[in-house]
């Protein structure tokens, strides 16, 4: 018992030392870079949307075409080995837009290609993106349920 408490005490003290000596990330610079990278991707998305808005009959179809284009862009940059560098530069600025989601699928699919199409690529392509889909559906369901209960649903 004493030994355990000694170990817990030691771990706490060591955690303090680790924190004290750890390099401090430059939050302002990282935030600025995330803003610029994320902003650039969204600006590009807006540009693509405006292009399709003139060529598609409805706004819904323009949105669909925009999403497909941005996903294609994310996958292409992943395949070319560029998107991980964009991620290193922009952090969440590169991860949050749909190009980041495309990268998460494509990077995993590429990595596990050698383990076969079925048990490798197809199964493992969701290891990073899977939780986004699961919790996205869950959040949508709960929101829909609440909307229905308070009677403001469709």
């Amino acid at each position: 018992m004493d030994r355990d408490q000694g170990a817990i005490q030691g771990a706490r003290e060591y955690a303090r030392l680790v924190q004290q000596l750890a390099p401090k990330p430059n939050v302002a610079r990282l935030t600025a870079r995330a803003f610029l990278v994320g902003g650039t991707i969204c600006f590009l998305g807006q540009f693509v949307f405006d292009y399709f808005r003139f060529r598609q009959p409805t706004e819904g179809e323009a949105i669909a075409a925009t999403l497909a284009t941005m996903i294609l862009l994310g996958v292409a940059l992943t395949a070319l080995g560029v998107y991980d560098d964009v991620g290193q530069l922009g952090g969440m600025g590169a991860a949050v837009p749909i190009t980041g989601f495309a990268n998460a699928m494509a990077a995993a699919a590429m990595d596990f290609r050698r383990e076969g199409f079925v048990l490798g690529m197809a199964a493992k392509m969701f290891i990073i993106a899977g939780p986004v889909i699961v919790f996205g559906i869950l959040a949508g369901t709960v929101t829909g349920l609440v909307a229905w209960l308070v009677g403001s649903g469709p």
Binding site: L21, A22, P25, G81, G91, A104, A106, D111
Partner: protein, 340 residues
């Protein structure tokens, strides 16, 4: 009468007729060769995938080629080697196993993560000194892509690396250990096998902090058992604590009342210099092996170092234990290398 091995203190072995490293070979990828340690490597491969279809196969090729070339360098063929000792970072140490399959030698697979180098060289020295083997081949390898895949994320994923992250070195390194009359390389005189030390670091992206207490523990035990001080060594080489872990290591050692002076150097902090993409520095089981067989071995041959205390460190977590919230246990095995 020939000297026989004996135990010093509680944890240290002093070898009777210290075996020598009679063949040493480092075979590294371009990124490692471009760093400040590049001049000490024996061979460099142009492409880290080495024409293979997977990173796992490339890692295996680095290990096997390093092992074969180390035998060549020592002027030996497979029948001259009694035991093959090898370890790596992949699950079931497959790179070592597949190399052993191809070499056809009696094989002892070992695992100490990035401390495989000193565990392997230490065990080899014991086997040779005890007369249980005449020549032992020791090898390890690691590959950035195969290790990243297994321990962290897909290679091309947009993850921002932290400043505490370490970059797994790509390459293979191997040595032949033999009785002292069979060559002129450095002798392995003392071994202090380490205990598993875990001070509760749960961040697998900060392995330097997780391993620093293990390096300190083995260092202090080694000094106590051998009744030596940093002054008795020309170099104290840890690794791969990298820059973050090194700082912690020096603080812990100082708090224990030992002054390292300018003797301390860390393999992980040295491999890539201050390259920002590497985060805190290098890691990977080949890193400390390449530092020992490249840097230390060659500087000893030049007469710069006569006595080196090496403390390679390993982080013994698995991706499963880390995801389940367990902390990262560290280990460090010490060996003493002497020139002449």
């Amino acid at each position: 009468m020939a000297a026989i091995a004996q135990r010093l203190g509680q944890y240290t072995v002093q070898l009777g007729q210290p075996p020598r490293i009679v063949g040493a070979l480092t075979l590294m990828a371009p990124r490692e060769a471009a760093g400040p340690m590049g001049q000490y490597f024996d061979a460099v491969v142009d492409d880290d995938m080495w024409g293979e279809v997977s990173a796992e196969r490339a890692e295996r090729k680095f290990l096997e080629q390093a092992a074969r070339r180390a035998m060549d360098q020592a002027g030996l063929l497979e029948p001259d080697v009694d035991v093959f000792l090898a370890g790596d970072l992949l699950n079931q140490i497959v790179s070592s196993t597949f190399t052993a399959r191809s070499l056809g030698l009696p094989y002892l697979g070992i695992f100490a993560a990035c401390a495989t180098s000193s565990l392997g060289l230490g065990l080899a020295a014991i086997l040779v000194d005890g007369g249980y083997a005449r020549r032992v081949l020791v090898a390890t390898a690691s590959h950035y892509q195969s290790v990243e895949r297994q321990y962290r994320y897909p290679i091309e994923l947009n993850i921002q690396r932290k400043q505490t992250n370490q970059w797994t070195a790509t390459g293979g390194a191997a040595a032949v250990v033999a009785p002292p009359d069979q060559g002129s390389g450095p002798r392995i005189t003392h071994i202090t096998f380490g205990r598993v030390v875990d001070w509760g670091v749960t961040d697998a992206n900060d392995m330097g902090s997780a391993m620093a207490p293990a390096a300190c523990d083995t260092l202090l035990r080694h000094f106590q058992d051998t009744n030596t001080t940093p002054g008795d060594y020309d170099l104290i080489l840890t690794g791969d604590l990298a820059s973050v872990g090194s700082k912690l290591f020096r603080t812990l050692v100082e708090r224990a009342g030992v002054t390292l002076g300018g003797k301390h150097m860390d393999g992980g902090a040295s491999m890539y210099g201050q390259a920002p993409w590497a985060g805190a520095g290098a890691s990977g089981s080949v890193c400390s092996m390449a530092m020992l067989l490249g840097y230390v071995h060659k500087e000893m041959a030049q007469g710069r170092y006569r006595r080196v205390l090496a403390l390679p460190t390993g982080c013994l977590h698995s991706p499963t234990t880390w995801q389940q919230g367990d902390s990262c246990p560290g280990i460090s095995h010490a060996i003493v290398l002497e020139a002449g």
